[in-house]
């Protein structure tokens, strides 16, 4: 039976990230032996949930080295697990940590890697979202997306395994008990992996409605012009109720808001009743994450912004001004 490895991510209390549960759910449909790898001080606490979502075996590495040092200890441990289990497929989320570890693991294994995967079809076949796939000077490969978003099917044609990074919310997570055999990681991380040290963590706890579950998502882009204007989006979300605030990659990259709010190809996929795009140009990278919305409202000063091409209703105007008026309107003023 083919084996599939899922890289588990969890918080300081051992609570698993939703994307890990999504990957376990997706992997269960492959008729394979499912192994979850949990690395970090609270790995043991995550084991029961990993089993409840279908893991047949769980490799636990609870050495603090995985919390103290970035990516190299985890990549080393996974390389060892892959050597033992010889899986066909290794599933990661698309988080920063997952990308770090997956990238290094690819170098160690010399295998193939596919990012932005929305569906795992078989252990060697996946569907990925690509806003673009480009190669200057080679027309045969220069395939972009009309309207900005498209799916490609990718088949592994060479030796395994295949490393896959899935997009968030690609699969709805559902529990189904696996055999849940827990074993300790049988290798010690060498000192040579202790190079990039985590000195401190600075986190704000997430509050409010989750992006993936909100009925209304209000996203801000560079057209907001000032990070302070994000407070208007939060106010609007609070006024609507069951609404969450998202963001485009450029404003996350610019440090205006944290990555957890990013909607798009390398962020979250959302399917709300209403998506309000505020100062969002409608770059393909972003559209991939929100095109499943039931209805789209766009507010932008640029009449030619691509977002208007897919909006059900659009207002050409200053984002902050329009938002303030909408807030007044909702308050019944």
């Amino acid at each position: 039976m083919a084996r599939v490895v899922v890289f588990a991510e969890f918080d300081a209390q051992g609570a698993l990230d939703t994307t890990t549960l999504e990957n376990l759910t997706a992997a269960r449909s492959l008729d394979s032996e499912l192994c979850a790898v949990a690395l970090g001080g609270h790995a043991a606490a995550a084991a029961a949930t990993l089993a409840a979502y279908g893991a047949d075996t769980i490799v636990v590495g609870d050495d603090s080295v995985f919390d103290e040092y970035m990516s190299e200890p985890a990549a080393f441990a996974l390389e060892h697990v892959v050597g033992e289990l010889e899986p066909e497929l290794i599933l990661f989320a698309s988080s920063y940590d997952a990308r770090d570890v997956a990238g290094r693991l690819q170098a160690a294994l010399g295998c193939t890697l596919v990012s932005n995967v929305s569906e795992v079809l078989a252990v060697d076949r996946v569907r990925a979202v690509r806003a673009l796939r480009l190669w200057p000077g080679r027309p045969g490969n220069l395939r972009g997306g009309v309207g900005g978003a498209k799916a490609i099917e990718v088949l592994r044609t060479g030796p395994g395994p295949m490393i896959v990074l899935t997009t968030a919310a690609a699969t709805a997570p559902s529990p189904s008990q696996g055999r849940g055999h827990v074993g300790d990681l049988a290798v010690k991380v060498p000192d040579s992996c202790r190079r990039v040290r985590r000195v401190s963590r600075h986190e704000t706890t997430a509050d409010g409605v989750k992006l993936e579950q909100a009925k209304v998502v209000i996203s801000g882009g560079r057209g907001l012009e000032d990070p302070a204007n994000f407070s208007l989006l939060r106010e609007l979300a609070a006024a609507i109720g069951n609404a969450a605030v998202g963001a485009t990659r450029p404003v996350v990259d610019a440090g205006w808001v944290p990555y957890s709010m990013q909607v798009g190809q390398t962020g979250k996929t959302v399917r709300p009743e209403i998506y309000v795009a505020v100062g969002v140009s409608g770059a393909a990278q972003h559209v991939v994450g929100m095109k499943g919305a039931h209805r789209v409202i766009a507010i932008n000063t640029d009449r030619n912004a691509p977002i208007f091409q897919l909006a059900d209703f659009g207002v050409v105007g200053d984002a902050a001004e329009v938002l303030k008026e909408v807030l007044r309107g909702l308050a019944g003023e």
Partner: protein
């Protein structure tokens, strides 16, 4: 003297919009008015140039691409980099992420760089893992998703963006650092800088120069089909803000009662 390399990429869509493709042949219209240096690479170039201005480092910009990629390097040189390296070979067309990392590792491995700077992900392919693969191939530490970088001697300290905030992490050089757009505000080169950049050296390398062959770079996966996502129809657009606000309020109220 500190030697810094910055990875840069030529992309046809600097604005992030999908490139225009033919509806029947699915081929890109190559005359892309926006083609040039990937804007996602500019903060890294700026960071390297600022570090060099402070400590007297030499900044080399390195790219893999076709002959068309040259203007992207020239742009980085105009921003203040000292020299360019372009790996250019017909056999590289369609190279996947591992092949790209192998080629760049070979190109960078010819020199001994103290610091390699890379962007978080390219504007066109957006794979987001290549720099880490490259670092591992070169045996280097990788400190990624940096929104702030400081260098004290050979000690590199960065603020790394996380899902809900940031971590402070540190390592010693040599290392690869992956940066986000928050790391530095890219300068806009003056006309004089742009003219001067044309006389800065760009070394062009082929696969043979790097001791690599097409066999080393064969992809272990293939794209078997492409589906165009169905296009959404554009709806009503108004420039009358008062009318627009009324309509938005109405739509939001409908959802509230659902």
């Amino acid at each position: 003297m500190l030697k810094i390399a910055v990875l840069v990429k030529y992309v046809p869509n600097r604005g992030g919009d999908p490139p225009e493709i033919g509806e029947e042949d699915f081929r890109l219209r190559r005359e892309q008015p926006e083609a040039g240096l990937d804007p996602a690479d500019e903060p890294g170039v700026e960071l390297a140039v600022q570090l060099a201005e402070r400590s007297g480092a030499e900044v080399t910009v390195v790219s893999m691409g076709s002959e068309a990629a040259r203007p992207a390097l020239v742009r980085a040189l105009a921003m203040g980099a000292d020299r360019g390296v372009l790996v250019c070979d017909d056999q590289l067309a369609g190279a996947d992420v591992l092949a790209t990392a192998k080629v760049l590792a070979a190109a960078l491995g010819r020199d001994s760089f103290d610091l390699i700077v890379a962007g978080a992900e390219s504007t066109d392919a957006a794979t987001g893992t290549m720099p880490m693969t490259l670092a591992a191939l070169l045996g280097l530490a990788s400190a990624t998703f940096a929104r702030h970088v400081s260098l004290d001697g050979t000690r590199l300290s960065i603020e790394r963006q996380t899902s809900y905030g940031h971590d402070v992490i540190e390592c010693l050089l040599p290392a690869l650092v992956g940066v986000t757009a928050a790391v530095a505000e890219p300068r806009y080169p003056s006309l004089r800088d742009t003219i001067r950049a044309r006389s800065k050296p760009i070394e062009q390398l082929s696969l043979v120069d790097l001791g690599l062959s097409a066999d080393d770079l064969r992809s272990a996966h293939a794209i078997t089909s492409i589906d165009l996502a169905p296009e959404r129809e554009a709806g009503e657009i108004t420039e009358d803000v008062a009318q627009g606000v009324a309509r938005i309020v109405e739509m939001l109220r409908q959802v509230q009662v659902m």
